[in-house]
Structures are given as structure tokens and as C-alpha cells.
């Protein structure tokens, strides 16, 4: 058995792969956050709660309406995304003229309410959600058994991330969005309904979080607090990647998952902290983040 730095390569690759899986969730979630912040200048602390709502939505769709996993991947983001748009219309739009920090505080409060309500109803232990039939089982990769579902997570996240990046950076719709945030008055003068775009964008960001939540349901257990500790890590990812940069969040999300995986091999106690150390360093050297531009 070969060893790298005293660790058997098998263990190393196994942890890296797990890191990549975790990274998929970080990437998806930070993508949603980056879209919302980058295009709308809102710091959406509710993101973790919306991720949790996604998982619960999938759970309810399955247990109350008999709707399976694949349909949930489509329906849940629509449902929770609509809820997100409602939040934007009723509460967030009043805060645009104020300091960013009020948006942060409002969404923080919303997160507390949503999480609290669900915790009240369901306690904090998880609810089971089965892995979809087509994806059960695992593949023996030699150095570990990779459950098929976790492989799917990597593939789906990558696809979603790249699709989003493409839409925002390379299509006309994306161009309108980017223009609208830079100069809303001018864009509105061209006849584009800017407030509606903003609402839809927020909804889209929320939908991304929901999508991640549905994907997490079979492996991470559906529980009301699943977003709470995730959100802090995701913020760190977004800050490191550059708060407005889509590509930055994707790369950093996956990258961080891998770094975390590596840390778990060599120095497991620090695995929770390493992200914050990196964030502190990045903020000191390049506060706009690795891929970001100073606002």
C-alpha cells in the first residue's frame, strides 16, 4: 500500500471524494448566495433555512402527496422559490435604500423564525427520506465503496452550477440582470421591468438553495437545523470566492470541500476551522475575494 505523507493513498482518495461531495453542497448553496448578493446586494441569511425548506418540501411531497424524488427536484424549487419571491416583495424591497446590514439582520430574523417553527413542529431529530430507487447501491472503486447516490450529487451539482454560470454570464437575460444591478434607472428606462427582475432573481437564488436541500434529503437526514450550521460555512465560501462572483463561488465551494477532506486526513480536529482561517487570510490580503471585484 503506497503512502503519501504517512497516510495510505486509499484513505486519502476516499476522503477527497467525500470532500468533493460535501463541496458540491457548498458550491450549490454559495452559488445561490452569490447570485443574490452579486445581483441584488442582499445578504441572504435565510439561505440556510431555505435549503432546509427544500429538504422538508421533498419530504412532504413524498409522504403526503406521493410525489417522488425526481419530481421533487423540479417542484420543490418552484414552491420554495415562490415563497422566496413573496419575502422579497413584502419585506426585502423596503430595505434596498438602507445600509446592507439591515438586509442581513432581516434575513437573519427570518431564518430564526423559519427554523424555530420547524423545530417546534418536528423536534431536532431527523426525518428519514429514502434514496431514490434508481440510485441505491454502491460501486466498489477499489479504495472505497462509493454510494451511487453520492456520485449523482457531484454530477448534478456541477451541471447546475455550470448551467447557472452560463445563463448569467453568457446569455442576454444574464446581461440584463447584470446591467440592472449596475444601473437600475437606466435599464428601466429601456423598458425592462427591473423590480420584477429583482424578484425573479431572488426567487432563483432561493430555488438553488432548495435544489440543494432536495439533494441533501436522502443523505443528510431531513431536520430543522440542517441549514443553521451550513450557512456560516457557505458565507465563508462566498466571501472567499468573491461576493459577487459566480465562478468564484463554484470553484471555492468545490475547492473548500476538497481542502476540508484533506484536513480531515491529516489533522481532523482542524477540519471545521480551516475554512475560517482561509477566509480571514483572504479578507486581509484581498478583501474582494479571490475572484471578486471591489464594490
Amino acid at each position: 500500500m503506497t503512502e503519501i505523507f504517512g497516510v495510505p493513498t486509499q484513505a486519502l482518495f476516499g476522503q477527497l471524494l467525500i470532500g468533493l461531495i460535501n463541496g458540491s453542497f457548498y458550491a450549490l448553496l454559495s452559488l445561490g448566495l452569490a447570485v443574490i448578493f452579486g445581483l441584488l446586494n442582499i445578504i441572504n441569511f435565510t439561505h440556510g433555512a431555505q435549503y432546509m425548506l427544500g429538504a422538508f418540501c421533498a419530504y412532504f411531497l413524498l409522504n403526503k402527496l406521493g410525489v417522488g424524488y425526481w419530481w421533487s427536484l423540479l417542484l420543490a424549487p418552484l414552491v420554495v422559490g415562490a415563497f422566496g419571491m413573496l419575502i422579497e416583495r413584502t419585506m426585502l424591497k423596503h430595505l434596498y435604500k438602507l445600509d446592507h446590514l439591515y438586509g442581513l439582520l432581516l434575513t437573519f430574523g427570518l431564518a430564526l423564525v423559519i427554523q424555530g417553527l420547524f423545530r417546534h413542529q418536528f423536534g431536532s431529530s431527523g426525518l428519514p427520506y429514502p434514496i431514490p430507487q434508481e440510485l441505491t447501491g454502491s460501486r466498489n472503486l477499489g479504495f472505497m465503496f462509493l454510494p451511487n447516490y453520492r456520485a449523482w450529487v457531484i454530477v448534478a451539482s456541477l451541471a447546475m452550477c455550470l448551467a447557472t454560470w452560463f445563463v448569467i454570464e453568457k446569455t442576454r437575460l444574464g446581461a440584463y440582470l447584470r446591467a440592472a444591478t449596475e444601473n437600475p434607472a437606466l435599464v428601466q428606462a429601456f423598458g425592462i421591468n427591473v423590480p420584477r427582475m429583482i424578484m425573479l432573481t431572488y426567487g432563483f437564488g432561493v430555488a438553488l438553495a432548495t435544489f440543494a436541500g432536495v439533494m441533501a434529503a436522502p443523505i443528510y437526514q431531513v431536520n430543522p437545523l440542517m441549514g443553521a450550521d451550513m450557512i456560516i460555512v457557505v458565507f465563508a465560501v462566498v466571501v472567499i470566492g468573491g461576493m459577487g462572483s459566480i465562478m468564484g463561488s463554484i470553484v471555492t465551494g468545490f475547492g473548500l470541500g476538497v481542502v476540508e477532506g484533506l484536513t480531515k486526513v491529516f489533522y481532523p480536529e482542524a477540519s471545521n476551522t480551516v475554512i475560517f482561517i482561509i477566509m480571514a487570510i483572504v479578507l486581509l490580503i484581498k478583501p474582494a475575494g479571490l475572484f471578486g471585484t471591489q464594490r
Binding site: L112, G116, T273
Partner: protein, 306 residues
């Protein structure tokens, strides 16, 4: 100014007399958190800097004090001093790192640093992780005042609280405080007037950290326990809530905010998750419609500063 003096007398009278009616341990908790919130308010209300990691100062002082009193057998006044000094030290280090950024980046970096501190305490053997440092002896203050007597402990905490409050009051009404307010209103103009704003913000940060530490150190002796709850990011969120509800930038706001929030938590504690829900609702309502907070609204109504 007169209104502020009246409010101060009311506050002192309230806290001095209330243990006759209400469970003293509960009121001691209120006073510790009131001091914590006042310290936090110094930074955001007067300095304009939102720190999302203030729990690290509360918790660090708590752990150091608990450890000093229990393992090293230090007298309570020395243990509290040591805890506060530790918070001061941490404030200096984190301040040097954080102060150069502002706005949202400042909040994020304080959050990151606080998370690092949290995970450090989670792993460090001396904190005993999830169990916390338990059975911390209260000892004898100055060698002869027995703090295990609940009334004696109460008035000791009361003295610490009033002393801390008066220090903050003094700072706010000093030239230093005026410069801080100027920086909060318009930093660019303050710089153009020749003030080294980074230096002032750093001083405010360290002062805020130290006083938060004082609150944490005292709290550790009140409850005879130092645990991970005190360094968790939800604690940082709580102090933001107390200050926001009480009134950002008011002098008495944080005290009122702490009183309301702690009382609310107490009443709703048995209903578990309702505490979180109500806290969240208060946040939302305050941000949307009640931005001045309780004391802020009162001050606005009577057209004086409080």
C-alpha cells in the same frame, strides 16, 4: 443631559431594589447581558461597526475566569481581572485583523474569527468541550466577602455592572466619543478633518471587547459554569438582537433590550423552539418598522437623547 441622569437614577434604583421581588440569579443574568449589550452597542451604535462575533469575548473571558477560579484557585476579583484581560488581548489581536475592513466585510471577518475561536474551545482540553467548566467556586472577594451568599453576590455583580456602565457613559460623552460619532456619521469627512479613523475604531473595538469580557467573566462566577453556548455564533446574534430591540446608539437601549429578551426567553423556555421564533419575529419587526428600538422611540417621542 438631565433626562439621562434621571434615567440613570431610575435604572440604579430598579436594579438595586428588584432582588427583593424577583429571583436574584435571574436578575444577575440580566445585568451581565446588559453590560455585554452596552459594550456591543459602543461598537455599533457609536462606532458604526457591526460585529457578528462578539460572543468570542464573552466566552473567552468566561472560560479564563472559570479556569482560573477552579483550577488555579484564584480569588474571584483576580479571576475576573484575568478573564477581562484575556478578552482585552483577544480584542487587540482580532481588532488588528478586522479593523481595516468595513461594513459587511467587517461583520464577516468578525464572524470568521469567532468561529475559529469556537472550534478552538471545542477542541481545547481545558474547556472540557460539551460539558464545559463546571462547579466553578465563587470564592471570597478580597479574601473576606463570601460570594456564595446570593445577596452578596448580587450586589457585587450590581457594582460591576454600574461601574462598566459608567465607564461607557464617560466614553460616550468624552471627546473620544464625539469623534466616534463623527466617524459613524461620515467617515470620509472625519478623515478629511485630520482624524486617524482607523485608530479610533480600533480603540473602540478593544474597549468594547474588554467590557464584553468583563460581562463574561462575571457571568461565569454567577452561574459557576463556562460552556460552549457562550462562544457559539447564536450568542453573537442574541446580543445584536438585544441592542437592536433596545435601540442602537442609545445609552440605555441595550439595558432595556437585555431585560426584555432575557425575560422573554425565561417565560418561553419551556416552549423550546418558541424562543427562537419570537426572537426572529422581533428582528424582522425591528428592522422593518421599529428601527429606533424601544429606547430610541421613547427618545424620539420626548425629543431628547437617551
Amino acid at each position: 443631559m438631565r433626562h439621562q441622569r434621571i434615567a440613570f437614577v431610575v435604572m440604579v434604583a430598579f436594579f438595586a431594589a428588584v432582588p427583593l421581588l424577583v429571583y436574584p440569579v435571574f436578575m444577575m443574568k440580566v445585568m451581565c447581558f446588559a453590560l455585554f449589550a452596552c459594550a456591543f452597542n459602543l461598537l455599533i451604535g457609536f462606532g458604526g461597526l457591526l460585529s457578528f462575533g462578539h460572543a468570542m469575548f464573552l466566552g473567552t473571558a468566561g472560560y479564563i475566569t472559570a479556569h482560573a477560579a477552579k483550577e488555579w484557585g484564584l480569588a474571584p476579583e483576580l479571576a475576573i481581572l484575568l478573564g477581562t484581560a484575556a478578552a482585552f488581548g483577544l480584542g487587540v489581536v482580532t481588532g488588528l485583523l478586522a479593523i481595516r475592513r468595513q461594513g459587511i466585510y467587517f461583520a464577516m471577518i468578525t464572524l470568521a474569527l469567532a468561529q475559529m475561536i469556537y472550534f478552538f474551545y471545542l477542541q481545547a482540553p481545558f474547556t472540557h468541550g460539551e460539558d464545559g467548566i463546571q462547579a466553578v467556586p465563587r470564592g471570597r472577594l478580597f479574601g473576606f466577602i463570601d460570594l456564595s451568599n446570593i445577596t452578596v453576590m448580587y450586589y457585587t455583580v450590581f457594582t460591576v455592572f454600574i461601574a462598566g456602565f459608567l465607564l461607557i457613559w464617560r466614553v460616550i460623552h468624552s471627546p473620544f466619543g464625539q469623534v466616534l460619532k463623527a466617524i459613524r456619521e461620515n467617515e470620509a469627512r472625519a478623515i478629511s478633518l485630520g482624524y486617524d479613523t482607523t485608530h479610533y475604531k480600533f480603540m473602540a473595538f478593544v474597549l468594547s471587547a474588554t467590557l464584553a469580557g468583563l460581562a463574561g467573566a462575571t457571568k461565569a462566577l454567577v452561574f459557576q459554569l463556562a460552556s460552549l453556548t457562550d462562544v457559539h455564533w447564536t450568542m453573537s446574534g442574541e446580543v445584536v438582537l438585544m441592542t437592536l430591540l433596545g435601540g442602537l446608539g442609545t445609552i440605555f437601549g441595550p439595558v432595556v433590550g437585555a431585560l426584555v429578551i432575557i425575560t422573554m426567553e425565561n417565560y418561553l423556555a419551556q416552549l423550546g423552539a418558541w424562543v427562537t421564533i419570537v426572537q426572529g419575529i422581533i428582528f424582522v419587526v425591528c428592522v422593518l418598522t421599529f428601527r429606533r428600538g424601544v429606547v430610541g422611540e421613547i427618545a424620539h417621542f420626548i425629543k431628547k437623547t437617551l
